[in-house]
């Protein structure tokens, strides 16, 4: 299967339709996405996304690994929002196990998920503005994202792919200085966001390229399964953190931004406001951070504390079984809807009582959001294609898994 560069002309009754292949190697497709467009002059008559160029067999590989080992695979699916991904997976696993992490673990998880949301939306700004060639915002947004990556590294040792969550809690407690560093980042954020708005929202070129571009009607958004900022940018207040609260989100106050216009500019505004709301949640978490254990106390799920190993034979046996076998969730299946920066993410996990999942399916928000591309772009000029893809903020790892 080879990608061809230029198109082949086809004579139609009304005019000449040019079939053009965009991608999979293309600077504007946010990854290895291929879009086959049929052009009538500059107007796209038909756009067909072709995916599968990043298919990694993650879902099948998850069936061959234990629940703990799967956290490394899960990180790499939606690689810009790894903490949210781990949250989604372990919500489903904990629903099967029937346990809930202790309050401090819940708070830390929400904190990292919201910081990750900020980092992911900064990446949207960076990549989106790079596509429209506002390169200075690309540089600024990447610099701000580096501050979030420093926080992630301080906490889990890794900038991306943290592998930080565990069944029943998190792996380690917050290190010294983390709360102060997080506050510094969050305190500086409104100033940075105001600067982006000064550079973008009053920028004639940005507004011309985004306003009215890639419109998605309300009915299309719902019918095509879109979620996240794509759905909220088309006027529907649908956020899993509010409607189907999980992991402790109902303890915090925040708003869900919704815009009715349905164009790329609306989606951009939704994401900018979401960053401010994520900051609001993160500050509430930091203010109220409870003390206590960071993982559930069940010895069949979480490792015993090190000190206990010297005293108790039981603890040694539990440690041995957990490390060699892993957890055994009861047989059944579960699905918990969570909100990742791109939309609703959930894991359909089927267990048969063994230490490996029988099936782990990822409800990938970008997979369904991508289906809205033809609805957004048909009848519009070719130059809007890149803006449409950027405004959907897709991650190909999520689509292809």
């Amino acid at each position: 299967m080879k990608s061809t560069a230029a198109g082949t002309g086809t004579n139609h009754a009304e005019g000449e339709v040019l079939t053009l292949n965009v991608g999979p190697q293309h600077p504007g497709t946010h990854g290895v996405l291929r879009v086959v467009v049929e052009l009538d002059g500059e107007i796209i008559r038909r756009a067909t996304p072709e995916i599968g160029y990043l298919h990694t067999g993650i879902e099948k590989q998850m069936e061959a690994r234990t629940y703990l080992q799967n956290v490394t695979l899960v990180d790499r699916i939606e690689y810009l929002a790894s903490y949210n991904e781990e949250m989604a997976f372990y919500q489903a696993v904990e629903r099967l196990l029937g346990v809930e992490p202790p309050p401090r673990a819940r708070a830390i998880r929400i904190l990292m998920c919201e910081l990750n949301r900020i980092g992911s939306h900064l990446m949207f700004l960076a990549a989106g503005t790079l596509d429209v060639n506002v390169t200075s915002v690309f540089m600024y947004a990447m610099t701000d994202r580096e501050k979030y990556l420093d926080l992630s590294e301080m906490l889990s040792g890794q900038r991306m792919m943290p592998g930080y969550f565990r069944p029943g809690g998190v792996a380690q407690d917050l290190p010294d200085g983390f709360v102060a560093a997080a506050r510094t980042f969050l305190d500086g954020l409104p100033g940075r966001l105001d600067e982006y708005e000064r550079l973008l929202s009053d920028n004639l070129i940005w507004r011309e390229r985004l306003e009215g571009v890639a419109p998605l009607a309300r009915e299309d958004a719902i019918a095509l399964g879109a979620t996240g900022p794509v759905l909220r940018g088309s006027g529907i207040a649908h956020d899993c953190r509010k409607l189907l609260p999980y992991g402790g989100y109902d303890e915090y106050d925040f708003d869900v931004p919704v815009r009715a216009e349905g164009d790329a500019y609306a989606r951009y505004l939704v994401r900018m406001e979401e960053m401010r709301q994520s900051r609001r949640i993160a500050l509430q978490v930091l203010d109220r951070l409870p003390d206590g254990p960071i993982i559930v106390d069940d010895r069949k799920i979480a490792l015993p504390p090190r000190a206990e190993l010297a005293r108790s034979m039981e603890a040694v046996i539990h440690q041995f079984k957990l490390v060699s076998e892993g957890i055994h969730p009861p047989a059944g299946d579960s699905y918990v809807a969570t909100e990742s920066p791109r939309g609703e993410k959930g894991y359909f996990v089927v267990s048969d009582g063994s230490n490996r999942p029988v099936r782990a399916h990822v409800r990938a928000p970008s997979f369904y959001n991508l289906q809205t591309l033809p609805a957004m772009i048909e009848g519009h000029p070719l130059s809007d294609l890149v803006v449409a893809i950027a405004s959907m903020d897709i991650v190909l790892g999520d689509i292809d898994r």
């Binding site: 719902i222 409607l243 189907l244 063994s354």
Partner: protein
Amino acid sequence: MDRQAVNHESLLDRLRPHVPWGLTTPREERGRSIIFVTVGALLDVLGAARDRLGLDMLVDLTAWDRIPASPRFEVVYLLGRAGSADRLTVKVQADGDPPRLPTATGLYRAAAFAEREVYDMFGVVFDGHPDLRRILMPDDWEGHPLRRDYSLSEEPVEFHGHTPKVPSAIIPYFPPGSGSGSGGTTPPGGPQP
């Protein structure tokens, strides 16, 4: 935490009068309302869910392989309502060579990609789908990778004079109900490569 359990009763009660005879009793499990349907009743139930219950979003469509149980494939539809917490999980089990189901694209346009993926990964054919071809694997790929009897196709690392085990053979597999020590290193599912 279990706010997801709030809407079950009213949802299932509202669905009951519209449900044709090929339907098992709805139930609630782990925060979800679930119903099992037969293949023949599938489109009726999905239509009733969309038109009577207002579940206008297809949140997810997936499948899993229940081998050695029969019927072999279980296809799961997760329906939701935009802006609301109403959710319904519809499960249908299919068997055959190839297993066939009617397409849901007439009711939910979001099923287009999802049904292609289930076809690609499991071989379930959706009758009436406008463009049923492989979506994730190359067009000329043979086999359906997510079936449990399809090998993971791991490649052992090349060493001189020695073939080490592949990762799945090293990671211990403990079947359900195993005590300590009764598990081995045999991976579940199908034949080794």
